[in-house]
């Protein structure tokens, strides 16, 4: 099968392109910069340019659509141009060029209205009530994509909080803040959250692609949340990531009046904290603060049954791989900088190395 993976310059896109390739497919990628993935054909261009999109889509059987504007803040028009209009352009091109299958990569935030999610399955995307420009435009895009099921075969997959070695978004931000001693715990850090190890998210997308091709109609028009299925408290997840990176785990709490819910209190305090990073983007928005202070974990039964998929990498194994990757980075850094405070020893050193990307 000839498969187009859009957005393969990002971490999940790259990893997914590699997984699709390893599954024996002929892979083409589409983004502005080279993907850096071996054994695939890069088509460079912009999702907002109709001609570029035509070029990318022509001749493929299936599309895995990851390209999106993901940042936490920005001009609402930019989000719309890429996430909504770009998706529409891609779907139009796919229909015109005889593509059969589209795996639309979405986000659980498209259905998140700010309240705790405790063991729920995917709810319908809700652009009106989704929080923030990213979630709003991704919600619209998912509705567009699922609406195109008919002429095309479409499934939407929503990986939740993807992390892994090489992650410049979640992991890097956490580690950077923690290293600077400026990562507080939100409330008690006791909210349970689901996360997804990078390779599990990628394998779920491949599973979705294969399930569409089975042509039994089981997954068409459906949206699936994908996670590791191992919810953990925020505090434990942050501590695990910090330990893997060899930085101190957060101990400082954002003060929260006892009578108020941890989430609400943290949100209020968060806005006043000096947490701006170098690029001027706040490391945490109200949306992310909510994400990290209220429970978000999902019912994975339908996902696993319908996609015939289970995560292969456990959280513990994922953290070992993360530690291995930081260990490799540190060895390079140590060679130039000498010993560094906070370097880890002990069992993390036993972790298998170099297995993050297959």
């Amino acid at each position: 099968m000839r498969v187009l993976v859009t957005g393969a310059s990002g971490l999940l896109g790259r990893t997914t392109a590699a997984h699709v390739r390893d599954a024996g497919h002929d892979v083409r990628t589409f983004q502005r910069r080279p993907s850096g993935v071996d054994g695939v054909h890069d088509v460079l261009g912009s999702l907002t340019e109709r001609d570029d999109v035509d070029r990318a889509v022509r001749g493929v059987d299936a599309v895995v659509h990851l390209a999106a504007k993901v940042s936490l803040t920005g001009d609402p028009a930019d989000f719309r141009r890429v996430n909504v209009d770009g998706t529409r352009t891609l779907l139009d091109a796919a229909a015109r060029h005889g593509v059969t299958d589209v795996v639309h990569v979405s986000s659980p935030s498209v259905a998140h209205t700010g309240t705790a999610i405790v063991g729920r399955d995917a709810s319908p995307a809700d652009p009106q009530r989704a929080r923030g420009e990213y979630a709003r435009t991704k919600a619209e895009a998912e509705l567009l994509a699922l609406g195109a099921d008919g002429p095309l075969r479409v499934v939407a997959v929503r990986p939740h909080l993807v992390w892994g070695p090489g992650d410049e978004q979640l992991v890097a931000r956490i580690v950077e803040r923690a290293r600077a001693g400026r990562l507080p715990l939100l409330g008690h850090g006791a909210a349970l959250i689901d996360t997804t190890y990078l390779d599990n998210a990628a394998s779920a997308l491949v599973a979705a692609l294969h399930r569409l091709a089975d042509d039994d109609g089981a997954v068409r028009g459906q949206a699936y949340v994908v996670t590791n299925g191992e919810p953990r408290t925020v505090a434990e997840m942050l501590a695990g990531i910090c330990a893997a990176a060899g930085v101190p785990a957060p101990t400082r709490r954002v003060p929260a009046p006892v009578a108020r819910t941890a989430g609400g209190a943290v949100e209020a305090a968060w806005a006043r904290l000096p947490l701006r990073s170098a690029d001027g983007e706040p490391p945490m928005t109200r949306f992310l603060a909510e994400q990290l202070s209220t429970a978000h974990w999902f019912d994975q039964r339908r996902t696993r049954t319908d996609l015939r998929w289970r995560p292969e990498v456990s959280l513990d194994e994922g953290l070992r791989r993360l530690a291995a990757s930081y260990g490799a980075d540190r060895e390079q850094a140590d060679a130039s900088d000498g010993p560094r405070r906070g370097a880890r020893t002990g069992r993390d050193g036993d972790a298998p190395r170099g297995s993050a990307r297959r």
């Binding site: 063991g119 006791a190 909210a191 505090a235 006892v258 989430g263 202070s293 209220t294 019912d299 994975q300």
Partner: protein, 930 residues
């Protein structure tokens, strides 16, 4: 009843007229297609109470909800009709869930479909406003006129709520050929003579009568009686037909028609219906919401006296609008389905306690027979180490005990207490309780025993629900009974000063009853299958439930104890655990009540036990048995340093130690075993519904080990007459498996024994569930059982989960309600808790699930040693250790200073509460104490 006025119709505004109409189309839960208008010729009534005959040729238009057309559209022919009559001030909207449920059931099983016809009574709801004041007699006739027009001639089950219950019963009495059953919800046909009219009704009658017409106050008040509160759109739907004072005129007229005295125009008709109900021999179902300011438990008791065959469920926590508060619609369907396969005429009453098992050919001697046998024996039967009279040790010979029991029995009878009446005993263990208990049993009076450990609120609920005719108590108990407004005549254990007796409403004392009974004849003995006692559960798993035993079943309990532990004439019994202690005289044991506060078993000291043992055997060389609760065992061990050499010598005579009432740890059992060198420590497994199901000794516990990967608590092998089977859990954590003896399969523990409960009192649904899937359950459906059971045995689902092992031993793994249902299947809590407790630094652990059933996450909550000062997440190290020990993916490990436990024993972790707390914390909520 006196003092209430009559003839309120005179004070009402002139009745209004208005045509019938249809409800708005968008009322929640109501399908507009169910509504129809029916025009009915009115049968004139002949004049009564000085009224003229009614005119001929009048027609009335009704609004009714009717599923007939919907069933016809499905091509379904119903097996019968549910004729539903609402009360005041509601309308047929009350029955919307029943309409929907019957239609859904018709889709599933078209052959067993029921049609529902739910009427709006005339002048009510969307039916015609007739401009007349309609009496009860008129309303009963109105309903018959309607069913004549509709052609409802058979089989009809009437369903009535509130005043509609009376109208529906009037129809039932008048249509014996068509009638197939009656269903009643919070209604009454008779005001119990000794009860004042409830205050709200008095207000309505006296002051609110006209007011209910012109203001929506009565309507608003009634709608506010729902628990939980009704959604606003449902309240609006109830108000929909009553928007104006004209539309509300029927409400006031209805209130005015309640006969508050014998002179009321409707009193005669009410009496006719009330008497006629006694003659109904059709199946009856009564649903009751106790939180009802108008219809109380006395009304329920009156109804049940008229419908002894009724199956009753009293929904604790529900109120007047019981159909809104709980799923009565589903329960009605269950009841109908139960009757379907069997012939409709056969009614198995659980309300009156018919044994369902095969009765043994030979009956056991009743409990009091031993007293008759020993009536001339001058040896000691009872010893009270510290009677509440404070007069030092009190001993009672068999001769005296037999005589007292005889006198009290005759005295109670002479005082008008009759076979089948209920007597609540608020008497602490000792000679008075024993004598009163056996006296009640002898004359067939049903003994109600509720443990003070339930607390004032739980006790009040229990006693109100049981509706005793008499309360026997010490002064303290009677003060509480007075303060808490308990029902029943009052009898004090001692003669009280006249003023005190008057203040407490005490009629008689036990000495008075002895005097009354001294020369009086005894009534005949009750039958073996009559209900003998109602024992209340501890309430540690929801509101306390009344558990009914017949005389035969109590005798079987006595025999089970005798067989299991070799108890009999010559045994001394030191009784720190009430339920077994009361059987001492029936066993022929000499019973010694140690010096202790029975409401606080943890106050029993080692020296008090030694003193009781010393008092026990004297003339006998038989062994002495000591029965204690785990809390008492703990305190005896804790105070053992105070024992003297004499005390130790006394304790060395103890041959049997029984720790009963809650699980006891091996360590504690071993520690008390050390104090009683000649005793074999035992602990039975049982519950209020079956006190002795299995037994295990300390030695056997040690031999059993830790249960391997599944874990659990080994409770030993079944008692001689008991059978234990397992109903396996399915993937959803429900106990759906057949009753099997396969080793290693985890499921609900299901037992059969001749000494298992007869039924739950006034809890038909609970009772039904406790027999589900057994030969005694499911409306008589056959159920396969692996192996035989003892003659006269009945089945009971314990609500515990566990398994049998290859040796035939029973392992308890927790409560069925506490099973965590993960995406990978069910997890029973005790095994993981035991493994978590094996982690150094963990003192005690509770395992619960958070999230929706089927995708729950396991959470371990631990008490640490040393203890934590406040709840928090466990450290990463502790989390890792606990997770590794538990051997399953636990989403979180939380630390608390104290796990919540049951009040009574401080040993059973309240996992339901713990789960709610963990769910809140892990959703990002407040981290308070659990």
């Amino acid at each position: 009843m006196t003092g209430a006025t009559t003839g309120h119709a005179d004070r009402l505004p002139p009745p209004t007229t208005a045509p019938a109409g249809l409800p708005p189309v968008d009322l929640p839960g109501l399908d507009a297609g169910w509504s129809r208008l029916v025009t009915v010729p009115e049968t004139p009534l002949l004049g009564a109470h000085g009224r003229a005959d009614e005119p001929h040729g009048v027609e009335r238009t009704w609004h009714v909800l009717d599923t007939g057309p919907a069933l016809a559209a499905r091509g379904v022919t119903p097996v019968g009709t549910l004729l539903c009559v609402h009360g005041n001030p509601t309308w047929s909207y009350l029955w919307r869930d029943l309409l929907a449920a019957t239609l859904a059931a018709a889709d599933d099983a078209p052959g067993d479909a029921w049609r529902v016809v739910a009427v709006d009574q005339l002048d009510m709801g969307f039916s015609e406003r007739t401009g007349t004041h309609r009496t009860l007699r008129r309303r009963v006739r109105d309903l018959a006129d309607l069913t004549d027009t509709l052609g409802l001639d058979g089989p009809v089950v009437t369903v009535g709520h509130d005043w509609g219950g009376v109208v529906s019963l009037g129809w039932a009495v008048d249509h014996p050929d068509a009638l197939a059953g009656v269903v009643l919800l919070n209604t009454a046909v008779h005001q119990p003579a000794d009860r004042p009219i409830p205050l709200p009704l008095r207000l309505a009658l006296g002051a609110l009568g006209p007011a209910t017409v012109v203001t929506p106050a009565f309507l608003r008040t009634t709608l506010a009686l729902a628990h939980p509160p009704l959604p606003d759109d449902v309240k609006d739907a109830y108000r929909a037909p009553y928007g104006t004072a004209e539309r509300r005129s029927g409400i006031g007229a209805f209130v005015a028609d309640i006969p508050a005295g014998p002179d009321h125009p409707s009193a005669g008709e009410l009496d006719r219906v009330a008497d006629g109900v006694r003659g109904l021999d059709v199946p009856a179902l009564v649903f009751w919401g106790p939180r009802d300011p108008v219809f109380g438990d006395p009304h329920l008791a009156d109804l049940l006296s008229r419908l002894p065959q009724a199956q009753v469920h009293r929904f604790e926590g529900a109120g007047h609008l019981v159909a809104e508060d709980v799923d009565t619609a589903g329960a009605v369907l269950t009841w109908l389905a139960d009757r379907q396969p069997a012939d409709a005429g056969s009614v198995r009453g659980t309300g009156t306690g018919t044994a369902n098992g095969t009765a043994p050919a030979s009956r056991r001697p009743p409990l009091w027979r031993r007293l008759d046998d020993l009536a001339d024996d001058g040896s000691t039967a009872l010893v009270e180490m510290a009677p509440s009279t404070g007069d030092g040790v009190r001993t009672v010979t068999w001769r005296l005990l037999a005589r007292r029991v005889r006198e009290l029995a005759a005295g109670l009878h002479a005082a008008g207490v009759r076979r089948g009446d209920r007597v609540s005993l608020l008497v602490p263990p000792g000679a008075d309780l024993t004598a009163t208990l056996y006296a009640c049993l002898r004359i067939g009076v049903v003994v109600v025993v509720a443990d003070a450990g339930l607390g004032a609120r739980g006790l009040t609920r229990a006693v109100r629900g049981a509706q005793p005719a008499v309360v026997v108590g010490e002064r303290r108990g009677l003060v509480a009974a007075r303060a808490l407004g308990w029902p029943g005549r009052r009898v004090s254990t001692t003669t009280l000063p006249r003023a005190t007796a008057a203040a407490l409403g005490v009629e008689l004392s036990l000495p008075d009853l002895v005097d009354l009974g001294a020369g009086a004849a005894l009534p005949p003995e009750p039958a073996p299958d009559d209900v003998a006692a109602i024992l209340f559960t501890s309430g540690s798993t929801g509101p306390a439930k009344g558990v009914a035993y017949t005389h035969e079943q109590l005798a079987a309990m006595r025999d089970a104890l005798a067989d299991q532990y070799g108890l009999g004439v010559g045994t001394g019994l030191v009784a720190g655990f009430a339920p077994f202690a009361l059987l001492g005289p029936a066993l022929g044991c000499r019973s010694v009540t140690p010096d202790m506060d029975v409401t606080a078993p943890r106050t029993l000291t080692a020296r008090a036990v030694a003193a009781a043992v010393a008092a026990a055997p004297a003339a006998l060389d038989g062994a002495t048995a000591v029965f204690l609760s785990p809390a008492a065992v703990a305190n005896v061990v804790a105070t053992s340093d105070d024992l003297t050499d004499d005390d130790h010598r006394a304790l060395a005579r103890v041959g049997l130690l029984l720790s009963a009432g809650a699980p006891v740890g091996e360590g504690l059992l071993a520690a008390i075993g050390d104090l009683l060198p000649a005793a074999v420590p035992h602990t039975p497994y049982g519950m209020t519904e079956g006190l002795l199901l299995t037994d295990v000794t300390l030695e056997e516990i040690r031999a059993a080990g830790d249960g391997g990967a599944a874990g659990g608590v080994c409770v030993g092998r079944p008692a001689p007459a008991a059978t234990v089977r397992i109903s396996a859990l399915d993937a959803d954590g429900r106990a759906t498996g057949p009753l099997a003896a396969t080793p290693g399969v985890t499921g609900e523990i299901v037992v059969a024994a001749p000494h298992v409960k007869d039924h739950y009192d006034r809890l038909w649904l609970t009772d039904r569930e406790s027999r589900r899937g057994t030969p005694d359950g499911d409306g008589g459906a056959r159920a396969d059982v692996d192996g035989d059971v003892a003659p006269g045995a009945r089945w009971h689902r314990t609500g515990d989960v566990g398994r049998l092992d290859a040796e035939g031993r029973v392992w308890v793994e927790g409560r069925l309600a506490h099973v965590v249902v993960t995406a990978d299947g069910p997890v029973t809590p005790v095994g993981p808790e035991q493994r978590a407790q094996s982690v150094p630094g963990v003192a005690r652990a509770g395992v619960v699930g958070v999230g929706p059933r089927g995708t729950q996450q396991l959470v371990v909550v631990v008490e640490t040693d040393p203890g934590a000062r406040r709840p928090s997440l466990a450290t990463p190290e502790l989390t890792a250790d606990v997770r590794a020990a538990v051997g399953r993916d636990a989403a979180a490990v939380l630390v608390v200073p104290d796990l919540p436990t049951d009040v009574r024993h401080n040993s059973k972790i309240d996992r339901a509460r713990l789960a709610r707390w963990a769910e809140g914390v892990l959703a990002g909520g407040r981290v308070g104490p659990p």
